[in-house]
């Protein structure tokens, strides 16, 4: 079979839309795999030669599709300067997504994308070693303080006056800066006139559902 025949048959195949879509998907999946491997997991095994070949095939693929994309974009009814702005944003976003790099305001949106192997501990508790706060209210009720809960309009107990974003931040910094978080919480609790405060390590038994509160000695911030 001569090279001309092979070339002609390849051309016939490429003329079919499903084939073009399948090839495009393959090339893009390969590109994403190679770029994200290089950025996030540089320790992974080197890529096989086939993946490098597929990467090279992106050059003719781009040469084929780029004029079509430009033609398509030039026909849409978005004003040209606005279109240029959107394209710039999309390209930056695509680069971040390919490289799995986050540079505000662009993001690969890889939230919880990392694989984790959780332990087999029977007791669930918050991460970090700072104790949880327990509020003994004047009416005799007892609340264990959850910053997420106090920021949640549906479930807040009213022990702290937080909005949702503030609750997020206090919880986020509970590990990084526990002293500052506790100071902020205690300050607000005393401002609001709540009763006695305790510190405890709160854990939930995953098997039985039982909640355990082990008192922790008061640690002055």
């Amino acid at each position: 079979m001569s090279g001309k025949v092979v070339w002609s048959r390849l051309g016939n195949l490429w003329a079919r839309r499903p084939i073009r879509i399948a090839v495009s998907l393959l090339l893009l999946i390969n590109l994403q795999d190679m770029t994200s491997s290089a950025t996030r997991f540089s320790h992974l095994a080197p890529k096989p030669w086939l993946q490098w070949l597929l990467l090279l095939l992106l050059i003719p693929w781009c040469a084929y599709y780029a004029p079509r994309i430009v033609r398509r974009l030039s026909s849409i009814p978005i004003p040209q300067p606005v279109l240029a702005l959107f394209c710039g944003v999309l390209i930056c976003q695509a680069v971040c997504a390919l490289g799995e790099r986050e540079v505000y305001p662009f993001s690969p949106v890889g939230m919880y994308g990392y694989p984790v192997h959780p332990g087999s501990n029977e007791w669930a508790c918050r991460p970090g070693d700072s104790p949880d706060l327990i509020v003994h209210a004047a009416d005799g009720s007892v609340h264990q303080v959850s910053y997420f809960r106090e920021g949640d309009p549906l479930f807040a107990t009213g022990a702290l006056s937080l909005d949702m974003k503030s609750g997020w931040i206090l919880e986020k910094f509970r590990i990084r800066n526990p002293t500052a978080v506790e100071q902020a919480a205690v300050r607000q609790l005393s401002q609001d006139g709540h009763g006695r405060l305790d510190r405890a390590l709160i854990q939930v038994n995953l098997r039985t559902g039982q909640t355990s509160r082990q008192p922790v000695t008061r640690r002055e911030p």
Partner: protein
């Protein structure tokens, strides 16, 4: 060809050429503004970021230099954003205040992000606000439109109705792409994508956030023994399928309602295991999925050939 047949194409690029609704775009402006006012500009979060991160260097990267933004500047910008956002909702000097809202939102979230690394509103609304800045979002349900109509009966009319459609489609495409990207990020690199399907990540979140989850607040315990693996494998598969299904609205609008319902269900599920903040964002973005025809000021689109024949016939007076 009237384009209304069952075979008409309704992909993203086709829909950009269709007629839109000034009221739909105005509704998006108002809903986005109300969301930002309630959850971002009225929040004390910048005070807490400043207090908690005092003295420490920023931990996350931004294209905006960290030195440009101090806590006091961020808080001033938040006030400006609050005022601008209020004016954006009522539609007074809309173009200017939308730009002001966008700039203050972008910069205050820069300050928030570089110290916390949190992803929430900014992922969605930076681009949505940017689009609103470039769109005619005050041609209905705004003081500007009312003021123009009192000065001249011709003012505010005779705009190409595509001008109301493309911003909505572009914003919806952004919303969908965020989920597709989230799905892709979980799958790649392929060697680790398979590991994600063990469900370990969701299991870990469910366990470490148990005390901070609505499930615990409601029932006082976990729903089941979270050491079981298979429910989390199922959740991992479902979450990736839902995220990748967000590609469908870019191909056809027929499944918009189903895709949006799946995304909402995903967020409610994630919220129930202790990741708050997203159901209300998705709900606010839900107005992007409404059909412009429902607003009563959108003419039936002319089909796929219409975009090459724009002219006086594609212009319509705006409903008051």
């Amino acid at each position: 060809m009237n384009g209304m047949g069952a075979s008409r194409r309704d992909g993203f690029f086709d829909r950009l050429h269709w007629s839109g609704s000034a009221r739909h775009l105005a509704l998006i402006r108002i809903v986005v503004g109300l969301h930002l006012l309630q959850w971002v500009f009225r929040s004390d979060y910048l005070t807490y970021v400043d207090e908690m991160s005092a003295g420490s260097a920023p931990l996350y990267w931004s294209v905006i230099p960290a030195s440009w933004m101090t806590a006091s500047v961020a808080q001033t910008l938040q006030w400006i954003g609050f005022l601008a956002c209020t004016l954006m909702i009522i539609g007074l000097c809309t173009r200017v205040v939308t730009v002001l809202t966008t700039v203050s939102f972008l910069l205050t979230n820069h300050f928030y992000y570089i110290y916390t690394g949190n992803h929430d509103d900014w992922l969605y609304f930076n681009f949505i606000l940017l689009t609103l800045c470039c769109a005619r979002c005050a041609d209905a349900w705004s003081l500007d439109a009312w003021w123009r109509s009192t000065r001249s009966s011709a003012a505010g009319t005779c705009h190409n109705s595509q001008m109301y459609r493309w911003p909505v489609e572009v914003m919806m495409a952004w919303f969908c792409l965020l989920y597709v990207e989230a799905g892709i990020a979980k799958l790649f690199p392929l060697e680790h994508g398979m590991a994600w399907f063990t469900g370990g990540t969701i299991q870990s979140v469910a366990i470490t956030r148990l005390l901070d989850s609505p499930i615990y607040w409601w029932f006082g315990r976990a729903l089941f023994d979270y050491r079981l693996q298979w429910p989390f494998v199922l959740m991992a598969i479902v979450s990736v399928v839902v995220e990748l299904s967000a590609l469908i609205p870019l191909i056809t609008s027929r499944w918009n309602a189903a895709v949006f319902a799946a995304v909402m269900a995903l967020h409610i599920g994630i919220y129930s295991v202790g990741v708050p903040g997203f159901p209300q964002i998705a709900l606010a973005c839900g107005c992007l999925f409404l059909r412009p025809e429902w607003f009563g000021d959108c003419r039936p689109h002319l089909g796929s050939v219409a975009h090459d024949q724009r002219g006086p016939t594609d212009r319509l007076p705006l409903a008051a």
